[in-house]
């Protein structure tokens, strides 16, 4: 059923021919009516970067993720993923180019099993068409088996293998967060967007999460863009941080630079005069 899909380029192949950047965002803007949610947002990420995106509530961080993944279309600006211009492409085509994400409020396929959640993520890396899957051709069975193995090894990596057949919504909260990351990795992304992975976790879980994000980055060779409110976590693992406030980029740099930036302090704590008034 040939819908006019946006041109499908194997992004990762193309990416190697382009200089350094895996993800190149430049001058992206988005308004909702009179509200300027994101204003000229620019960011360049290289392979294996671990970049933080922080800002007070309503600063436009999640909107950025929605712009990157194609849920919203930017009013202006360009986003290049591995050399492919992805502005205007549909979310599923962008995912194919190598962008995947998790969600602030967990959005698993709750009725599906843990294993099926991960396998859905693997669909776009499977060769056989949906039609040949119905006919159960030998090729489709082989790739279905391969997909199952890959899904299981992902679940093993996250320590969820023994819960593979459980319905996703029955998992405890922390495991659901892990499963979301596993599902996102099943799409074999180049860039992994994590939206507040530490939300709702206790301090012990946060320590484990910190190690896990690093392991994910190293093992799966992904570039990570992390939205997080937990400053300890962000300052600890991110190499560079971008700070948004009211949709504007107010600071960018290493954790130490950002922490010392007066604009950032103002955004989080209010202006000096404001405090004393």
């Amino acid at each position: 059923m040939g819908n006019a899909l946006a041109p499908e380029v194997d992004g990762r192949e193309a990416g190697r021919n382009v200089s350094g950047a895996v993800l190149d965002i430049s001058g992206v803007c988005k308004s909702f009516g009179g509200l300027k949610a994101v204003q000229s947002f620019s960011l360049r990420l290289g392979p294996g970067d671990l970049q933080g995106l922080i800002g007070p509530n309503g600063a436009g961080k999640t909107t950025c993720f929605n712009l990157l993944t194609g849920v919203y279309r930017p009013d202006a600006g360009s986003i290049t993923l591995c050399g492919t211009q992805i502005v205007g492409m549909r979310p599923n085509s962008i995912a194919r180019c190598g962008m995947s994400r998790t969600f602030q409020n967990i959005r698993l396929f709750g009725d599906l099993s843990v294993l099926d959640n991960v396998r859905v993520g693997g669909h776009l890396r499977v060769r056989h068409s949906m039609f040949s899957a119905i006919l159960r051709s030998a090729g489709s069975r082989a790739s279905e088996a391969a997909m199952r193995r890959r899904a299981m090894s992902l679940l093993t990596f996250f320590g969820l293998a023994d819960r593979a057949d459980e319905v996703a919504r029955n998992l405890p909260y922390g495991d659901q967060r892990k499963l979301e990351i596993a599902r996102a990795l099943a799409t074999e992304p180049t860039v992994l967007l994590l939206d507040e992975p530490a939300a709702g976790m206790n301090s012990g879980e946060k320590v484990a999460l910190r190690d896990m994000i690093r392991r994910v980055r190293d093992e799966f060779k992904v570039t990570v863009l992390l939205i997080e409110h937990d400053m300890g976590l962000v300052m600890d693992i991110c190499e560079r941080i971008t700070v948004l406030d009211y949709g504007e980029t107010i600071a960018a740099g290493t954790p130490a630079e950002v922490q010392a930036n007066p604009k950032v302090i103002e955004a989080y704590l209010g202006a000096e005069e404001g405090v004393h008034a």
Binding site: M1, N92, S100, F109, D111, G121, M130, S140
Partner: protein
């Protein structure tokens, strides 16, 4: 005893038809959360296409009547009708529903009623099917296979029931054991998330409509085989058939594939038991009474999950 057996037989035979049609309602609802009112008209289309094909082929093959029809003709007509209706289902979705993807559900619902009226009235054109009832030439030479007491189990009964069950098993396999089925379930759960995980949502929706329309065509074909005389495309009996299949989907739990099969059987049996043991003139009443009871007692349907409203 004979009456009991006869009623069970009739109930199951009718129930499998309702189930087949109910599946189309439930699948589309599961994915797009709207009731495709044009679904019953695809059933009509399936029945009429079967009739036209049976008519032309038996005539072309020289002799009307069952004796002239080769054994494979019935299967060929069924498959062709399913393919044709699948294509029509695809076209309906593409032209009528897809442009409304982002709009309120009420708009889509009204469009579905429009599509239904369009199909009914196009079907009535003299160049298409006309306004007179017609009879389908016998495609299969019927024979009595087994007689228990005074109840005859005929070849046509077996073929009708067997086809319906085979299609339902096939669908169940498709939904729960294939890549496409997994994608359908993911899209049904959350369309945006599915597309972010790389599922081509529009293609999955198209597949869903095609599958639903194919099952509707099979339902129409089996209906034609069962009743021989086919009413004109806008006849109210078609609307009632569609409504009952819809009730079956709701009773089983709308959006739930296995629920639709269960609901169809339940309604077929209830209807036949009611008319055999209580009063046959109230046939339709039992069905809608069951709907009311289910909506009161278990609004989510037999297999449906209760929607808990968070306060």
């Amino acid at each position: 005893m004979d009456q009991l057996l006869q009623t069970i037989k009739d109930g199951i035979s009718m129930g499998s038809l309702y189930a087949l049609i109910a599946l189309g309602y439930t699948m589309v609802y599961g994915i797009l959360k709207f009731i495709n009112f044009a679904h019953s008209d695809v059933v009509v289309l399936g029945a009429w296409l079967s009739l036209v094909m049976a008519d032309t082929t038996t005539r072309a093959l020289g002799g009307a009547g069952a004796a002239g029809a080769p054994w494979w003709l019935g299967g060929a007509v069924l498959v062709t009708a399913m393919v044709a209706c699948g294509l029509i289902g695809f076209t309906i979705e593409r032209l009528a529903y897809k442009p409304l993807r982002g709009s309120p559900r009420l708009n889509v619902l009204i469009t579905a009623i429009g599509v239904s009226l369009f199909l009914q009235n196009t079907g009535q054109l003299r160049a298409v099917f006309g306004t007179n009832p017609r009879s389908i030439p016998p495609l299969i030479h019927d024979a009595t296979l087994l007689t228990v007491g005074q109840v005859n189990f005929k070849l046509l009964d077996l073929i009708g029931f067997g086809t319906a069950v085979a299609l339902m098993i096939g669908l169940d396999y498709l939904v729960f054991h294939t890549k496409l089925g997994r994608a359908m379930r993911a899209v049904s759960h959350n369309r945006v998330t599915a597309s972010l995980m790389g599922i081509p949502v529009d293609r999955v929706i198209s597949f869903t409509f095609v599958t639903g329309a194919m099952l509707a065509a099979a339902g129409g074909f089996l209906w034609a085989l069962k009743y021989e005389t086919i009413k004109q495309p806008a006849d109210s009996s078609w609307v009632l058939l569609g409504l009952k299949a819809f009730v079956a989907a709701v009773v089983g739990g709308i959006g739930n594939v296995r629920g639709a099969m269960l609901g169809g059987m339940a309604i077929g049996l209830l209807e036949n038991f009611g008319s055999a043991y209580l009063s046959s003139s109230m046939k339709d009443v039992y069905v809608f009474a069951l709907l009311i009871v289910v909506l009161l007692v278990r609004p989510g349907g037999i297999l449906g999950k209760a929607v808990v409203e968070k306060v």
